[in-house]
């Protein structure tokens, strides 16, 4: 079982690589305006490889202008040898086929998991036992719980997949692992909505994405709806709900074929130092 840290901040990456993690993931998962510069990527890559750890580059969904930026970065990474690239955009998957050394990881935005929805009540409607069971069965699976989908992605070079820490879905992850996919599990935050019309930027009065001061580097918000009994986290252009990983769940995940746990270093998880990363690693080790 490997443990990775994931961050889009160079400062946090510096801390993360000093921890007991095996790999470091760097890059923006959700916001294309947060994609690091080529220089920033080079710096991050050498920081991680100097420590003798695996480097994985994380990319978001991108529009045409940022696609060019990513292409330059992929060309650089390809020259460095075998490197993993997390893709959340079918366009980047298409581009990646040109590069022999880069290994595509299917990102969370290309893995559809109905159970990310914050309302489990969907599975508890008053519709009769069998219907309810059928709803739950669909609710907790992913779009990869279907062999032709796995085969299609494998044909395009995918062998690693990112999924979320949703305990009711763990038993269905086994199917993915059995069909040749390496599973990486994000430990704390489940993404439930992503936008290009960034909520944080609008809330803080940013004028345009190009001139955005990127307040999400240091700031995140907790959104509460008391009547709905709902607590969400707003981090940049993505909305999350949080989950609490336990040792018992970790054990179950390993049993179901998980090969990597990912610790997110960001203002919501408040995991910003090597000590906190280490404490987390110890807390989930079975």
């Amino acid at each position: 079982m490997k443990v990775s840290v994931q961050t889009d901040s160079f400062a946090m990456l510096k801390e993360g690589v000093e921890s007991e993690c095996d790999r470091a993931r760097f890059g923006s998962e959700f916001c294309e305006w947060m994609i690091p510069s080529l220089e920033g990527l080079k710096k991050a890559y050498s920081l991680v490889s100097d420590k003798g750890k695996d480097f994985i580059y994380v990319t978001p969904r991108v529009s045409p202008s940022n696609l060019e930026k990513i292409q330059d970065q992929l060309a650089f990474l390809d020259r460095q040898g075998k490197i993993g690239v997390v893709i959340n955009d079918l366009g980047i998957l298409n581009v990646l086929e040109q590069y022999q050394n880069l290994k595509a990881h299917l990102g969370r935005q290309l893995v559809y998991m109905p159970a990310r929805c914050p309302w489990k009540e969907i599975t508890q409607q008053p519709v009769g036992f069998l219907a309810r069971r059928q709803v739950a069965k669909i609710f907790y699976q992913t779009n990869l719980n279907y062999i032709p989908t796995i085969q299609l992605f494998q044909k395009h070079g995918i062998s690693d997949v990112d999924v979320d820490w949703i305990p009711e879905s763990f038993s269905y992850f086994n199917f993915l692992a059995k069909n040749g996919l390496n599973l990486s599990i994000h430990m704390h935050l489940v993404p439930i909505a992503v936008t290009r019309r960034c909520h944080t930027a609008r809330f803080l009065g940013e004028k345009s994405p190009e001139s955005c001061s990127q307040p999400c580097n240091t700031q995140a918000f907790l959104l509460k709806h008391n009547i709905l009994r709902l607590e969400l986290h707003l981090y940049g252009n993505a909305v999350f709900r949080s989950v609490k990983p336990t040792k018992k769940d970790a054990k179950k995940l390993i049993k179901n074929g998980a090969s990597e746990f990912i610790i997110g270093m960001n203002p919501i998880t408040k995991v910003a130092t090597r000590e906190k990363v280490n404490a987390l690693i110890h807390s989930i080790q079975p």
């Binding site: 969904r61 529009s63 045409p64 955009d89 079918l90 366009g91 779009n143």
Partner: protein, 374 residues
């Protein structure tokens, strides 16, 4: 600007206008209003998905295959294509056979194309060896030309782009793509989030419904609701009641010349779940504007747009007081990213009036669903 627009719209053909339907009556109405193509689903016929309300409820679809058959016949008699939304965001073995049967039954009724939102569904349809054009749904979140190229390689003949692109980005994608490109132009809400990455449900189940009714007696999706906003750092309350997730866009009547210039093939109105009166009046409105552009009557087009913005439009319950509900808040489909949000959609008076009128029309809609004269 007028001259430019005239030249550029004459360079490009006028895109097709696509309208949503959920009933035979709706189909009749939108076709009469000028839709070039219509799209619909009959997903309520799939038992396993009947109670799976994550995204759209059964009311967004035609009730039976027979009704689809009637819709197809009426549409084909009027030279209009019928597209079937088989755009589930995912496919699993538990529903595979039912979806296959669903698609086969719809093909038997004579539909003209399938809109597909998942690569698993695509693989399944290909394994069925059906000879029908395949269109890539907005669920595939296509944001760039490389994604279009990828989908083209997989066999899609048309790609519906993600809603959140700018006009310049759309133009670049169209220019570099080999297949037809379609974009959304109008909706009641216009999604705040990238379609397939949003798990805040639109549909209703009893528990959530009850809570929503307690809040504002409307059926707003969760992204429209006000939230308390706290700093994660120090748990301090930043704002008491802000619809912080509400980035919805409504309309693109002003952007039609620009959209035509991009070279898109189709302009799509969203809202399969909306009443036929919305589907009809929106289609009529855009048909009228596109016809003016096709004839090169730019002055008349801008005059019409200006009047639409200023007037209280009685024929269109959802566009009343457009200036306040949309223009002032920059809720245009293709306005810059960070518009000024957090206002009530319209003034209280206009809103109440609009709600009442809508309710009456929806009731009439429901009544007329049973017996429609062709």
């Amino acid at each position: 600007m007028d001259n430019n627009d005239r030249e550029l719209t004459q360079e490009r053909p006028i895109p097709k206008l696509l309208s949503p339907i959920r009933s035979y009556e709706g189909a009749v109405r939108v076709i009469r209003a000028g839709a070039d193509e219509i799209y619909c689903g009959v997903i309520s016929e799939i038992p396993s998905l009947k109670h799976f309300v994550l995204y759209r409820g059964v009311w967004c679809n035609l009730p039976t295959y027979e009704e689809l058959g009637r819709v197809v016949k009426y549409a084909h008699d009027h030279g209009v294509k019928v597209l079937l939304t088989a755009n589930l965001p995912f496919m699993i073995e538990a529903v595979e056979n039912e979806i296959k049967n669903y698609i086969r039954a719809c093909l038997d009724e004579g539909i003209d194309a399938l809109i597909i939102g998942d690569l698993g569904v695509l693989s399944m349809v290909k394994s069925m060896s059906v000879d029908i054009p395949l269109y890539a749904s907005t669920y595939l979140a296509t944001l760039n030309q490389e994604a279009v190229a990828f989908l083209t390689k997989l066999g899609f003949e048309r790609v519906i782009l993600e809603r959140q692109l700018t006009i310049d980005e759309i133009a670049e994608i169209v220019q570099k793509s080999q297949v037809e490109i379609e974009v959304f132009i109008h909706g009641l809400g216009g999604c705040s989030h990238i379609d397939v990455s949003c798990y805040l449900i639109h549909a209703h189940f009893p528990e959530l419904n009850r809570v929503r009714l307690m809040i504002d007696s409307s059926f707003n999706p969760p992204c429209k609701l006000p939230f308390e906003v706290y700093d994660t750092d120090n748990d301090q309350l930043r704002s008491n009641s802000v619809p912080i997730l509400d980035a919805q866009r409504i309309c693109s009547i002003c952007d039609l010349p620009m959209l035509i210039r991009t070279g898109v093939t189709g302009l799509k109105i969203e809202g399969r779940g909306n009443p036929a009166v919305f589907q009809e009046s929106t289609t009529k409105l855009y048909r009228e504007l596109l016809d003016l552009l096709e004839r090169g009557q730019m002055t008349a087009y801008w005059k019409k747009v200006e009047s639409l913005k200023r007037q209280f439009i009685p024929m269109h319950p959802y566009l009343q007081n457009l200036h306040e509900s949309c223009c002032e808040q920059k809720r245009c489909y293709y306005s810059p990213f960070f518009h000024a949000p957090y206002k009530l959609p319209v003034s209280w008076h206009a809103w109440t009036k609009c709600q009442f009128k809508t309710l009456t029309m929806v009731k009439n809609d429901a009544r007329s669903l049973t017996g429609v004269q062709e």
